[in-house]
């Protein structure tokens, strides 16, 4: 897969407008029972790109369906699933999918970029969390020392 075939990270963050998403959804519904994989992917991709968490999970589930049902497209779906889980916050899953993709295609730039993003995000969240918890612990120790001193 060349670079042109997969979206960039910026692309993944850009959100579709409501009307655009509606168009995709209508197409999906219109095709009814025999919906093509392209339509499903279009709708799923639109959902994943959105900021709404519910829609993101919906998109991920749709993609999982495509993954399971269309063996041909599985490799591509790996990337999108990694991306989707990354946006949702399931960093473990995202990492697993991404690693699997990199096994098949070690030269894929988007996959590398995604991997970097995942690591960065995980570290960042760790720092933030630590900061919050550290401050909380600090406050707790102050309270306790004050209590002990009173005794």
């Amino acid at each position: 897969m060349t670079d042109n075939n997969l979206p960039s990270m910026a692309d993944a963050d850009s959100c579709l407008s409501d009307s655009q998403l509606e168009v995709l959804k209508k197409q999906y519904i219109r095709e009814g029972e025999y919906v093509t994989e392209q339509t499903r992917f279009n709708y799923a991709w639109g959902l994943i790109k959105s900021k709404n968490r519910r829609e993101q999970t919906q998109g991920v589930l749709l993609l999982t369906d495509i993954y399971r049902e269309v063996p041909d497209r599985r490799r591509e779906c790996l990337f999108y699933l990694a991306l989707g889980h990354f946006k949702l916050g399931n960093y473990n899953d995202a990492r697993k999918f991404n690693e699997s993709l990199l096994e098949f295609e070690p030269n894929n730039s988007q996959a590398h970029a995604l991997r970097q993003e995942i690591e960065d995000r995980v570290a960042k969240e760790g720092y933030i969390g630590m900061a919050i918890v550290g401050s909380a612990v600090a406050i707790g120790t102050i309270i306790l020392t004050s209590l002990l001193k009173k005794k």
Binding site: E76, L88, G89, E119
Partner: protein, 655 residues
């Protein structure tokens, strides 16, 4: 600080540690550890807690960043942070997995297991899992509702490992999904805002293409060229995408057709086997009937069989039906184990079930006795001496009407009538029922055909065409759906033009004018009182051929593609060859022939008081005796023969 890499060792240790924890133990440990923390600023402890806390902090931050609403949840998380101390590594693991699990929609099942682990850690057994479970359930149902659109709701979504375990084949070299997306929705692929800018710029560009600035015109042309090329590319990709889908569909169609063929073969094989089994069943039935001669209770369906002690040459009288009080004029059956209808001069028409040998009832309606009838499947047509033809539908007859009808079972018998000759030689063990309450099947009648002015003596129907011959010297053709007579053929005129008039016509015998008739498509064959067999063309209504030979009125007739077989009062049966019009064979008997039926292998003749079976291949006769008076009517179906006679009985014979 690599808080992200969870060491494998701790992972394996954690389940064992987590499980046996006791609530009190936890609390004690918590307080003691807190005191230790306060008093000693030991580096080891600090780093431990910090690393553990980083994990919890990550979970908290992820929670914060995802914008959860539930405050209770946050409290629980905070409490997590306070209580985790020397179980830092285990806490780290469980919390990270918990957070990813809890907030992941794909791992429903895994939550429950880990919740117990968390409960043991926090010591908030009552509170935490319940809260987390309820919260999770809320999210799960919300997801399910939101997913109603996808139509592919999994009850148990697969976790990532399970998905990855599946086979990932090499993709065929073609358009990727993203390219397809871009091709279908170019505006969507880029940032929404940016596309709007593009559109605005394009619109502005249109406005500016005035001819006053050639360079602007040139650049705008270039832009247009770019756009059209892009359009082309987009269309190309769309086409390839659709082509791929079509190929996929073609492949799946092929597989489905392959499946269809396989199933078709299987079906054919099964029907073959079914036919074989049916044949063997027929053979077994025959053997059973043969054995039943010596064994009285062999017919499994039967309650009380009545076997008559008399000499049987060949052919077994399976069953005798008593019930009629007069000469049985005609009968018909629709299958070896189906229904049989008999009519007699006691003005009743009875329906019998050939599997239980019970009389199902009588058909009311005719004002005089029925002279002729035909039963095809569930349609019965009767022609009577009251000049009418009635049609009946026997489809709704239930064969187990024991409760309502105290119909005479074979072992019982009803009143005897006067003109019955002594028929019960050796049967003393039947009981006479005092009241003969027959079921009146008045829901079977469908319609009546009026038109004849003489009694209807013979009829034949096929599909919706009915031909009837009557003593008013006509043969009428009827359309059974409308009930209208469409053609009347005058026999007098036909007979006058042929030279078959003979002396016996004036004897005043009470033979029917038309003894027998049968038709096939447009060809009608009739046997009349003048002993002639006529062929009619139903399109013209004219007789075009006459077969002369009988020296007495013809009483019965049947034809197939090759032969016409007719029987008459002259005690003979003539077999005519249809191609030549000549007689192929004459069979002579001692009594007038009253009824016959033939198929490719045999001719069954009812004349005198025995049935004569003529084997056409071996040209041998065999005799079935049993009736005590003249046999009036014979009919057979497969291996079962039915005959009715002037002794008012109907007998079933096994071939």
């Amino acid at each position: 600080m690599m808080a992200t890499t969870v060491p494998a060792s701790t992972r394996t240790k954690q389940p064992e540690k987590g499980q046996p924890r006791n609530q009190q133990q936890n609390l004690v440990e918590a307080t003691s550890s807190r005191a230790a923390m306060v008093q000693s600023a030991a580096n080891a402890a600090l780093t431990h807690t910090v690393s553990g806390i980083s994990a919890t902090g990550r979970s908290i931050s992820s929670m914060v960043s995802s914008g959860l609403q539930s405050p209770k949840h946050r409290i629980v998380e905070m409490l997590h942070a306070f209580d985790v101390t020397d179980l830092a590594s285990s806490a780290r693991h469980t919390l990270s997995t918990t957070s990813s699990i809890v907030f992941s929609p794909l791992t429903v099942q895994a939550v429950k297991g880990d919740l117990t682990g968390i409960a043991s850690l926090t010591g908030l057994t009552g509170m935490a899992p319940h809260l987390m479970a309820s919260h999770y359930l809320k999210r799960a149902t919300a997801n399910a509702q939101a997913l109603a659109l996808t139509g592919a709701i999994q009850a148990t979504p697969m976790p990532a490992d399970q998905l990855l375990a599946e086979d990932i084949p090499e993709p065929a070299a073609r358009v990727s999904l993203f390219q397809g997306f871009k091709a279908s929705y170019p505006g969507h692929a880029k940032n929404g805002r940016r596309s709007k800018n593009h559109q605005r710029r394009r619109k502005q560009g249109y406005g500016e293409t005035d001819a006053d600035d050639p360079q602007a015109a040139f650049s705008s042309l270039l832009n247009e060229r770019e756009r059209t090329i892009k359009e082309q590319v987009k269309l190309q990709t769309q086409k390839t995408v659709i082509q791929c889908e079509l190929d996929q569909i073609a492949a799946s169609i092929e597989t489905l057709q392959g499946k269809q063929k396989n199933l078709g073969f299987q079906l054919a094989k099964l029907s073959e086997r079914e036919d074989d089994l049916a044949d063997t069943l027929g053979e077994i039935n025959d053997k059973l009937a043969g054995i039943s001669e010596g064994n009285k209770n062999s017919n499994g369906q039967q309650m009380q069989l009545e076997y008559r002690n008399e000499t049987r040459d060949s052919g077994t009288c399976m069953q005798t039906f008593y019930g009629h009080d007069g000469i049985v004029t005609c009968l018909d059956l629709n299958g070896p184990y189906g229904t049989m209808v008999t009519a007699s001069r006691d003005r009743t028409t009875r329906v019998w079930d050939l599997t239980t040998f019970k009389c199902l009832g009588q058909l009311p309606g005719h004002e005089d006795y029925v002279e002729c009838m035909q039963l095809e499947d569930t349609t019965l047509v009767t022609g009577s001496r009251d000049n009418t033809i009635r049609m009946w539908n026997l489809a709704d007859l239930h064969h187990s009407q024991d409760s309502r009808s105290s119909s005479p079972s074979p072992s019982e018998s009803s009143r005897h009538s006067n003109d019955i000759t002594a028929r019960m030689n050796d049967d003393d063990d039947y009981s006479r029922s005092s009241t003969d309450t027959l079921n009146v099947l008045d829901s079977c009648w469908t319609s009546t055909l009026n038109g004849h002015t003489g009694s209807v003596t013979c009829l034949y129907f096929e599909d919706s065409k009915l031909l009837s011959g009557s003593n008013d010297k006509t043969i009428k053709e009827w359309d059974m759906t409308t009930g209208q007579c469409v053609l009347t053929m005058d026999l007098l005129w036909a007979m006058s033009t042929s030279n078959t008039w003979s002396d016996w016509m004036n004897d005043g015998n009470d033979e029917s004018y038309v003894g027998g008739l049968q038709f096939w498509q447009y060809a009608l064959c009739s046997g009349t009182i003048d002993g002639a067999i006529r062929m009619w063309d139903l399109r013209t209504g004219q007789s075009h051929r006459t077969l002369a030979g009988h020296t007495g009125p013809v009483t019965t007739l049947q034809f197939d593609s090759f032969h016409v077989v007719s029987g008459g009062v002259d005690k003979s049966i003539r077999i005519w060859d249809l191609r030549t019009g000549g007689i192929q064979e004459i069979l002579q008997y001692e009594d007038p022939v009253r009824s016959l039926q033939f198929d490719s292998s045999k001719i069954i003749v009812g004349s005198g008081d025995s049935l004569k079976i003529y084997d056409r291949n071996s040209q041998q006769h065999s005799y079935y005796t049993g009736h005590t008076n003249t046999v009036e009517s014979v009919r057979f179906s497969d291996s079962v023969l039915a005959s009715g006679g002037q002794d008012s009985t109907v007998r079933l014979w096994q071939r």
